[in-house]
């Protein structure tokens, strides 16, 4: 039962990761950039987009504070197959060695029921998929 539940969870998790974000976003000399977020899944997704500072430690990046920037829109909903343009505009100067990441969190609008017992209890899961992509200055 437990093994079946784990397999079902993994299958559901895999089905949520069907969104597309540019692998790299390039800021121009004014700190402005655009990126597209596309919903390739069959479900309605709640999307949140933010810019965060990062710190490189032993070949991995730890996300830090939010960057002072305009992220427009920062929260929106995408139906299956829809795309949304997101504009980014920095509001703080960046050091030459700054590490910035675009963090896109995708959450299905509807919870998915994965298990129900004979007694009527049911488990539902909502997976939030987080995509962390690179941002660099031109």
């Amino acid at each position: 039962m437990r093994q079946a539940l784990v397999m079902m969870v993994l299958a559901v998790a895999a089905s949520q990761a069907s969104a597309q974000v540019s692998s790299e976003t390039v800021l121009d000399s004014t700190g402005y950039a655009t990126t597209m977020v596309r919903n390739n899944s069959a479900e309605v997704l709640d999307v949140e987009v933010e810019l965060r500072h990062g710190a490189v430690t032993k070949e991995r990046i730890d996300l830090g504070e939010r960057v002072k920037a305009v992220v427009s829109p920062s929260r929106f909903q995408l139906a299956p197959g829809e795309s949304q343009l997101v504009r980014l505009l920095l509001r703080e100067p960046l050091a030459a060695d700054s590490v910035i990441r675009l963090v896109t969190t995708l959450t299905p609008r509807d919870a998915r029921e994965i298990s129900r017992t004979d007694g009527g209890a049911a488990a539902q899961l909502r997976f939030a998929t987080r995509l962390v992509t690179r941002v660099r200055a031109q």
């Binding site: 709640d46 427009s72 829109p73 920062s74 929260r75 959450t107 939030a128």
Partner: protein
């Protein structure tokens, strides 16, 4: 009992003054574009009006901000909001906005400035023809166009062989050279300037300068060869011209504008 489990951290509530504002592009095709912060108002937007009025070429707006519907009423055009592209398009197909009208006037002036010679980029290849009249005199011509340049040679049973070449090496500059057995050679250069053009030519050992300028509905043309014309284009076109010792005025109507460099005359 229903258990709702969040597998990973749900998005935190956003804070900050830009959480609801949108950074949108406002575009007037052929004129320019702006990046503005807009406030969503239902399915519409409220935008700062002053920069949009400046883009349209209008004076001060009646209010500091306006919704899309209010902008349509104030500017007299169609405003289209594309939320997935964060794009506000000002549609002015009839050039009613002053800035758009100035753009159309500029294009007209540039079109009037393009003399015969180089053809648009999409035309390339050989061209030619044969002409014969009732005297059984004939003219054959053959040429080749590269798009930005062309060369042509012709032979007439009356005047002999002539040839010409013209080029548009950079957008505002047109050059041409022609050699005719009758009349000699002619070199010509024409430069398209904002709202007009200036042309200089050398033929028959004489140097001449022509120029035209478009000022709204009025086109003014002048030549060093003692010619000038002023053309006013409206519901009724009025043209006043002078060439040599003759002056004339023409009033016309219809869909075809009078050529601003042609002198009205009676013949």
């Amino acid at each position: 009992m229903v258990l709702l489990i969040a597998w990973s951290a749900l998005p935190a509530t956003l804070r900050g003054q830009e959480s609801d504002s949108l950074l949108v592009e406002v575009r007037l095709a052929g004129v320019g574009r702006l990046m503005l912060m807009a406030e969503p108002v239902g399915r519409s937007l409220r935008l700062p009006a002053e920069p949009i009025f400046a883009l349209a070429g209008r004076g001060a707006p009646p209010a500091p901000a306006a919704t899309l519907e209010e902008l349509e009423g104030l500017l007299g055009i169609t405003v289209i909001w594309s939320p997935r592209q964060l794009l506000v398009t000002l549609q002015d197909p009839f050039a009613t906005l002053p800035s758009n009208r100035a753009r159309v006037d500029r294009l007209r002036a540039e079109a009037a400035g393009r003399g015969g010679g180089a053809v648009p980029g999409r035309y390339a290849g050989w061209f030619g023809g044969i002409t014969m009249d009732d005297r059984r005199e004939a003219l054959a011509d053959l040429g080749y166009a590269l798009g930005w340049a062309q060369a042509r040679v012709s032979h007439s049973t009356i005047s002999g062989t002539a040839w010409s070449a013209s080029a548009n090496p950079i957008r505002p500059l047109w050059l041409s050279y022609a050699h005719r057995p009758v009349g000699g050679s002619q070199v010509r250069a024409r430069v398209v300037i904002p709202h007009g053009w200036v042309s200089a030519d050398y033929r028959g050992r004489k140097f001449g300068v022509d120029g035209a300028a478009t000022l709204g509905p009025v086109v003014v043309y002048a030549s060093s060869r003692d010619r000038f014309a002023v053309t006013w284009r409206g519901a009724v076109d009025v043209q006043v011209g002078h060439a040599g010792n003759r002056s004339a005025v023409r009033v016309s109507f219809g869909p075809v504008d009078p050529s601003p460099i042609s002198m009205p005359m009676v013949y």
